[in-house]
């Protein structure tokens, strides 16, 4: 692979959330964790389901399905552990996934005009064109906007 090709292509993790397949930049993915017990308690932050304990850390569990505006998965197989940056701090976050995750290399295309702002780009994957999400933007977006965009796209 030439230097130019190497810089143009990046690694992505393909994950299944509910009935939707989507992609995240591999750089923010730490590991795939077994479905350990989730603990919930009262809070009023949207799109957080609770916390899990992983390797001694308390890790918030993101309600990615709700953030995307799709029904919650009925079966949960793993937690995808991601890293997020909050100012100068970094923190792990877990996304419940209900299918296998795949690591792939590809060239991200600019997002279509109808995609919500939390979609950083589009990734060709097999016959599909998957949304590559900006996790920070996804977790702070309002889900109705995203749900609307998902419906428009079909």
């Amino acid at each position: 692979m030439t230097q130019a090709a190497a810089t143009a292509q990046s690694s992505f993790v393909i994950l299944q959330v509910g009935e939707r397949r989507l992609a995240l930049p591999a750089a923010i993915v730490a590991e795939l964790s077994p479905p350990v017990r989730m603990h919930s308690f009262p809070h009023d932050t949207p799109s957080i389901l609770g916390v899990i304990v992983r390797r001694g850390h308390v890790v918030p569990v993101y309600d990615a399905a709700s953030a995307i505006g799709i029904p919650a998965p009925s079966v949960q197989r793993f937690f995808l552990i991601t890293r997020r940056r909050f100012g100068k701090s970094r923190e792990f976050g877990a996304i419940p996934v209900n299918g296998d995750c795949e690591l792939t290399v590809g060239e991200m295309r600019p997002p279509a005009a109808d995609r919500p702002s939390c979609v950083a780009g589009m990734l060709p994957f097999g016959d599909e064109l998957l949304d590559v999400f900006d996790l920070d933007a996804l977790m702070t977006s309002s889900s109705p906007d995203i749900a609307e965009a998902s419906e428009v796209r079909g």
Binding site: H43, T45, V53, Y62, R83, F86
Partner: protein, 182 residues
Amino acid sequence: MPVREPAARTTPKSAPRRARQPETVVLFYVANQMFAIAADAVQEIRSTDSLAGSAIEIDQIEIGKVRHTVERGHRTYFVLNAGMHFGLPVTRPTLVLILRKLRVAVLIDRIERMAEIYGVHPLPLAFAGDERRWYRGLAQIDDLVIPVIRPDGFLSEEEFRTLDLAAQGATAKPPLEGTAST
């Protein structure tokens, strides 16, 4: 899918703050949700029945979680419904935690037990709502992760001011016609 360990330099600082000495907490339930509060933040635990006769209703609707005051040791405590505070389903509280340094008496369902904790995990930064005011952090007790309450998160200074004004009105209000004892 490869499993990659997070690099040491990027490991977030979410490990519990280890206390040199264990801290004793009271574990209690509100609407089937367990909470912890530092034992030294609690002055007294009473049954709601024992306070029923001394509770004074205050006339205010701004702060729905507080409906009454009680007098304890020449201080007026605001009786706060913990279920309403945390947005939990309405229950029938049976106990009151009377706090030590704050004029708050918290209605709860039941005490589970006392426990010792050796550290409190900071609340993850992803939590960005009122819970940052409600909780000091999270404690691991047995196999559970329990929110540790911040006692001064029950009522803000502004809420205290509002309630003080309402309570003054309640004590200054003349008895309704026909209700005064003769």
